[in-house]
Symmetry: D2
Subunit: 358 residues, 4 copies
């Protein structure tokens, strides 16, 4: 049964019905702007489970059913990470716009192939950096971009819990993409990451780090640090942003107060660059100990905003907020982190080849 609005909806398919796929199915089928035609998984019973027992949505284990369906204009890919590039490329070459679950690909090289292919074919390539579409991150981005936070002094994020050890990746590749994707949309141009240092520990001797610390040097002297951990008994999802004007604390596990803004800060008379550190140091540092405020945030599901942005970028023929390039920048940092870790935490400079579109 096709209602008028779905007739104008964008024909879609979801490939991969494992952990994340069902969430895509739920949100896409719930969007009036989409017309979900297929759910595809090599294990068709998983595809069937994702749509439920009362659904009219087609299920298949053959990706060709999706690729050759002229009514499918866009595909959401949620297959295992090491297959992202292959599947996404097939979709692009079949003329479909593509939304890829994070990480964009298994390597920077693969990611670049996807970005180039999408550019050549004039198709939308979007990376599903879900957290970037939460009301909290959207508000943080606004606060930073509109200058309410001031210069970025530091960003400290903690993403730890008792996680399932991944058989083929370390904790950086599993958890850090979230924080790196958030930094990518939040940090202003003058605070871009310029170097990476990573410290990982493998106390279980599995061959992959399950505890990791990532330090990003930012232009302008700031620092961003992320603690990712699979062996923490408590779940923590906190990000603190220290700015020259205000400070922000985002506790994603505290629904009644996810975002706190502090008027606290440090005032220091800004000296001319010619002035020496010694001179500046001798000046009195004055403290502002101000009030706390917590804005009300909508409780909208981020993934529905992801779908909305995907649809909008297709309709408007523009790059989405988290396009392939954003996914690529995240991959570059992850690869640099891997190199740093192998060199006992040596600081690895980042080459900036991937410009921003926003």
């Amino acid at each position: 049964m096709t209602t008028p609005e779905t007739a104008h909806g964008i024909g879609m398919a979801v490939i991969g019905a494992g952990y994340w796929g069902p969430n895509l199915v739920r949100n896409i089928s719930g969007s009036a702007a989409c017309d979900l035609r297929w759910v595809c998984d090599l294990d068709v019973s998983r595809a069937r489970g994702a749509v439920g027992r009362y659904s009219t949505i087609g299920v298949t284990d053959d990706i060709e059913d999706v690729l050759r369906d002229p009514n499918v204009q866009a595909v959401a890919v949620a297959t295992p990470a090491h297959t992202h590039a292959e599947v996404a490329l097939a979709c692009l070459e079949a003329g479909k716009h593509v939304l890829v679950e994070k990480p964009l690909a298994w390597t920077v090289a693969e990611g670049e192939k996807l970005v180039d292919a999408a550019a050549d074919l004039g198709l939308v390539l979007m990376c599903d950096h879900t957290y970037c579409y939460t009301p909290a991150v959207q508000e943080i981005r606004r606060l930073v971009r509109e200058g309410e936070v001031g210069d970025i002094h530091y960003v400290d994020s903690v993403r730890i819990n008792l996680g399932l050890l991944q058989p083929d990746i370390d904790v950086f590749w599993d958890l850090a993409p979230h924080d790196l994707a958030i930094l990518d949309v939040v940090l202003p141009a003058q605070s871009r990451p310029v170097a990476v240092s990573a410290q990982g520990a493998d106390p279980l001797g599995t061959g992959f780090a399950c505890v990791g610390y990532l330090t990003l040097r930012l232009e302008g002297g700031g620092v961003a640090h992320t603690h990712v951990n699979w062996l923490s008994p408590t779940k923590i999802r906190t990000t603190i942003i220290g700015g020259s004007e205000r400070m922000v604390v985002w506790d994603d596990l505290n629904p009644s107060q996810r975002l706190c803004l502090y008027d606290k800060g440090v005032d220091i008379v800004d000296g001319s660059s010619s002035e020496s550190a010694e001179v500046r140091r001798d000046r009195t540092v004055s403290y502002r100990s101000g009030d706390l405020s917590a804005p009300t945030l909508s409780e909208r599901e981020a993934l529905s905003a992801v779908i909305e942005e995907f649809v909008a970028s297709i309709r408007e023929g523009r790059a989405p907020l988290t396009d392939g390039r954003a996914g690529l920048r995240v991959l570059q940092i992850l690869e640099a982190a891997t190199v740093s870790m192998r060199q006992d935490g040596a600081t690895i400079p980042l080459v900036h080849g991937v410009e921003h579109h926003h």
Copy 2:
């Protein structure tokens, strides 16, 4: 007015009545085992303020009054850090046992001088690592030492708040000594720190880092990491210890539940060292997701336990739990951290010359 018990109390003096001195005065004068005779400060009005307007305790601005008083057997030094060595040495040479506020001294070289002098003169040299005497740390030490935690996988501590920028030291030297002193009493011999890496940021351009991250490599493959920060809008004092048997979370700002023990953990069949990581990785990792328990802790003030240990070590002629050597080990790590920071976070090996007495 001398009551019988104070007649047998150890004659004491406090030198330095600034920030920490008054706490020493309050706890020493409250101890029946001590007979507090002098409070000395170059600014005698501060000494007077520390004893209050109704006190019989002598106040002076002349350290000689303390040194030549034959009834003074022990001195607590709470002067500025860069004067610790000079003042403590003078006390030792005058034949007084010495309790020094953290850090033991301004440099490792100075600290070694103090340790050697105390050894030569057969006097007690104790470092006031207050946190080590909190009921929480005492319990953590017991849990680790008695094997209830198992092998140490990682220790992650966060010590951040909106702090006063120090004019002459960075955030590592100001805050990290607490965490390093705690690690020193908690970690078992097979998990000693072997290398240090430090990342600091000076976004205010004061010439000193006010945001810092310290990574300690532990024998046996574990890691200890500390985040110290003067620019955090929220105060956090949390330490998580991940072990092979249990995990411990210490939140010092949650009096109703300072210590949480988790039966959560990861089981992995231990492989012979000959076995390759690949083989171990392929084995199934089994999870134990267990219950939480929070032991009741006494609310005793740690500093009173410090005085008790100082007195006991003097009476028993033994090294205190946090002796000069412990203070020296902390200084060694701090100096290595400074070197690492100057080398962009390079990993600096630790030379272990200072053996433990416990």
Copy 3:
């Protein structure tokens, strides 16, 4: 497409697709033991919205479609409260088992009619007391029933938030049914409510109390108290149970620690009833200040357990845990509370006509 298992599923329908209906639809359609055939609402677009745009489930605005469908063996009723009795009765008379959203009915008289009808027709009448099926309440029930809590000294529950003022009921009828339903399954026979006192406030002058306090006197000298409030800026969902052996704190908004058990308690040598209070009072009261433990609870959605119990009671021809009688006992307390409130909080005795089946 009917899979083998659904062929044996119980044919079901959901009547009412407003606030709660969609949750019933989601859980019933997700249950392999059910075969959801209809969603009915006077506003058919709401019914359609509840099943989504890709569903094979029938939608209708005519209850007759449901009643005359021989394949519908059971109906879940989620219509406005004042219509529960009429709709549920129609379903029973059509030979369908019925699950009614709380409260069972608008009045005790109506509720009794439903209970009698179900009994006469040999059909299952279940009240959807959802909270009773949460892992937390199930565990509390076990702890109390198995004597781990000991004698019930008090139960204090707080259920407050900034709620929508209801146009036709007060805050007691809106929120208290949850707490009363929970007490009904948790309290042992020897601690049944025997009298009710209610204090309500209508500071907005709407004609209905929006702040309410309910006190239940329990057999054996205990007390149960509930604070319900539509005007609270913060959302609180906490229940404390004080027992002679242990104490339990249930904070439903703290997923990492929903349930806390305390070994804390008061020991008092039990005196023979002949003994006077004065004598008992003089005895020393000894305190046990013990440890805290928090059991791990499953995160299963309660409503799926409601459906499971509904199905099981139909298959086994037995009364469900929260049968019509449970709903009736809740209604009796609510009506007594209304009487008490009109009499300035006078204590109203409860007549116990409705026996328990468990």
Copy 4:
């Protein structure tokens, strides 16, 4: 040794060195405006313990030493509650200003005697309602008095913990005085308590309630409710104030956020008194769901502010914020609560004979 300022300090004494006395000694001896001359206790060793082993303050077990000392102008009384009246009266009759620990006296009759005596003798009689001098309560009083909270809809306070059972009083007389004293300074004249209802439970059969619920009817239709409990495993100190303009949440155990202000509220077009409730009910109720803000509060110890107010009222010859009359109003409510409890929670009207001085 008398410094110039103490020469002009008010001569003081503390009578009673049990639980609260030492806090008075510490704060009075720390105040430059006071000259503490005596600490008196029937057990002189407790008095000695309160001043410490290095003090010049006089200690005695003979109240006459205090009463006949012409340099003692004011006395702080911290003896057992049932002796407050006798001791305070003796001090007043000796011409001393008096600060009495809460409750003012054992009965209203005794309290009236004290108030009258102080009035006749032209002396200051102050009740140590310590909480009223916390920065949090001072700020709440300001917010309410300056109209920022609007009309008081309700005040809900919870004061529970695992407390020591008192041998001679119930939980109302032990804990509720705090909440009643706070209400006394916070509530504006148009929201005075007009009636009391109390529900107590004595599940331990000690002859005294250890769980209590107190409901105060306020002028203007508001309500104030207090939950006091000696048998709670968790300590809770929370007060919620619902107003027509703003809502306030005071969590005294959360130092980082003791006070929260919510712009949340309910808007309802105010109807003329002639208008019926039915009409008002039918109007749309509009919700404002606003932001949260938490003002920074000083961490000053309340008791030092109590001493400051006591000294100021003596010097200025005025009634202190919490004068004898305030203590009397608290006693009147406590006695009414006792009556209500004996009558199964019947609502007892309050006779208002005691006018406010502020």
